[in-house]
Symmetry: C2
Subunit: 453 residues, 2 copies
Amino acid sequence: MTDLNGYIDREMSRFREELFEFLRIPSVSARSEHDGDIQEAAVWVADRMRDAGLSASVIETPGHPVVLGEWKEAGPEAPTLLIYGHYDVQPPEPLAEWKSPAFEPTVRDGNLFARGASDDKGQLFLHIKALEAQLKGTGSLPVNVVMVAEGEEEIGSPNLVPFVESHRERLACDAVVISDSSMFAQGIPSLLFSLRGLAYFEIHVQGPAGDLHSGTYGGAVVNPGNVLAHIVDSLKNDDGSVAIPGFYDDVMDWEEKTRQAIRDLPFDMAEFEAEVGAPGLDGEKGFSVLERLWIRPTCDVNGLLCGYTGEGAKTVLPARAMAKVSFRLVPDQNPDRVGELLRAHIARVAPPEVEVKIEDLHGGRPWKAELEGSFFEAAQAALRKAFGTPPVLTGEGGSIPIVVDFQEILEAPVLLMGFAPPGANMHAPNEWIPLENFEKGIRAVAQFYAELG
Amino acid sequence: MTDLNGYIDREMSRFREELFEFLRIPSVSARSEHDGDIQEAAVWVADRMRDAGLSASVIETPGHPVVLGEWKEAGPEAPTLLIYGHYDVQPPEPLAEWKSPAFEPTVRDGNLFARGASDDKGQLFLHIKALEAQLKGTGSLPVNVVMVAEGEEEIGSPNLVPFVESHRERLACDAVVISDSSMFAQGIPSLLFSLRGLAYFEIHVQGPAGDLHSGTYGGAVVNPGNVLAHIVDSLKNDDGSVAIPGFYDDVMDWEEKTRQAIRDLPFDMAEFEAEVGAPGLDGEKGFSVLERLWIRPTCDVNGLLCGYTGEGAKTVLPARAMAKVSFRLVPDQNPDRVGELLRAHIARVAPPEVEVKIEDLHGGRPWKAELEGSFFEAAQAALRKAFGTPPVLTGEGGSIPIVVDFQEILEAPVLLMGFAPPGANMHAPNEWIPLENFEKGIRAVAQFYAELG
């Protein structure tokens, strides 16, 4: 271990510089104008895998490429771990709200600000550096490793499942390790017991063939903006629950033990309120904040667009209106089933004087961990050593759709250890990671390998 | 009359060229980047008034200038008419839906397409040309004339009432004539019996201080997009009526005679449906299409904006949401009162976990004509002669807020004769006017002066 931590001590400033370089590449997967940046990021990741001592290749898919790293010199008797992460990032908008540019990594008070700092470039890269520390610092590794870095996580990983299925042999492993989530609190390492799934839709309402004058036509033409508001409002009840018939049919009731464990966590309500900064908080009646975030499904508007949105008063009766609406799902909900229920519901509430189209943009199943076995125990020990305190078990409100797929296709358990701070502004302006988490993350993952030795 | 129509015959092609020149000036009053174009349009109008034989001045206001034209040589015994119009136009967006550019006047099949062709540059300019035909063609005019062309009609005329009040003596008149409305059908000249008013609001809902990740925070934070949909949906009942308590208190019941006259008009439902191009039509239960458009109030969404509206799925819980919502009003509703009722209603339906702000963008009172007297009879005769068929009396769904103000401040009746075609796409892409209407409009207005002689 002296070699390991000594190597990390010596190389840490270079690791940081490399991370900054990675974060400067605006690899936004949702926007086709960034396709070149996505390619650059993929090649960059492959080069760093090679620096670490892995073999690496950039494998094209019908969308953005997968970077595959491999080190299998531990021999056929040693276990194999698959490390998964993603090198693509969310769009940076709204740009005006960033205190420093989204793609210009900036350190303030020991915290690193940049799009992707936590989600997921920072966490993907600390795995590469942990492997480098093992292979260059100690000269070996007690397990075989396969690394999969994809470039489409933020657009729903449309090509990853086909990739995993067609590379099933090459990706065969005994466990999957993913770092794409948050710690429960700064300084408290965390392992996840659940992830929410996602069902994301775009609802389009088309009324008149073109925009009309709201004076000349208003009152005799059904307004798509009013209809869209009616549809969106019909999705929720006044008690904060989702109003789509059948939506809760597949929602599991968690055992009282889990709900009690959630209640026992040192949750700082005042800090959460300050982080959110809203006039108040509310949600589904009968559940605590953490239960609302981890074990209950949601319905959230992600975007609305209709008519004239510029300065001043344009008296237009708009031809169309659009909403992006998404549902966070919990075990055992299924995004396809939620899509069917949503379509049936909207068909009931939308008037026949408009045309409604519902587009599926993104789907991911929820996940529940099995928390036992040697990998889980090694992870617990490594996190305790690196952070000086044992990890807590937490849920995660966000979605990593690929987790369920890895588990099913590769028939291996998935271990989720997150190093993002709470309130990391993933998907929002001013995304950040404490440099301390980046460093302790490297030490924890390197130690994890040591524990398996 | 030979001189009058002969002059118009001879000069018609020049009149058209001048109108094209006028329409090329992008005098969009709602956008500050067009302030220079507004100035250019004002100076241009003053120059054409002078060409016609009027004295003219561009009078600055705290906003865009008023152009004032005068010809008072008919003597103190002759009546005085005030002609009102506006040289500003609506924003041209969405630009992609224009078949030819909004500010490049283009004639197709005898119809002239450009922003402002009907609303109101085309109709303002035909009055200037009718005066030119009288003063240059016949050498005189049987009445005194004051012309007021403003540059803020499309943003609610914030400075016109103060202008009219402070120029009350100079604007003193026996009747006001306005052409800023449509004909009932192409070829059928129309005089208006009513105009709807307008109350236009921007509703802002602020939730969290900044955009949040919908996975990490969704379920425990009240989403401003969902709240906005709830507020907007709460404004209307399922039967198409407005749901704000007290909204109908001041709505007058029209006498059965008027409702019968409306039903007797040769309304072409199939043509209206084709014009709108929606899958179906609907509105307030118990009223015909024309009643919904002319004598019943409305609630229309004019714009919605919230969160991420670009390509793909961004899983954001937005910090804020905005709706532009406007109400068309009928006698005796008042926009200020509607604003009070709206505020009280939203205070009841919005949850305390968000902050809601309601901004007044535009207000105009509804109007009801008094259809009698020498000016009205002269207008009827002139329209019959120019179009070869007597005018019908119609309502107008749109608003010309200044009509009520002129009537009250100047204590003079207002005569509304519109020359825009039905379906003129005022406030929408591909606004147009038949060149025939421009020409017959000039002849009708010139004849109107002749009738008064």
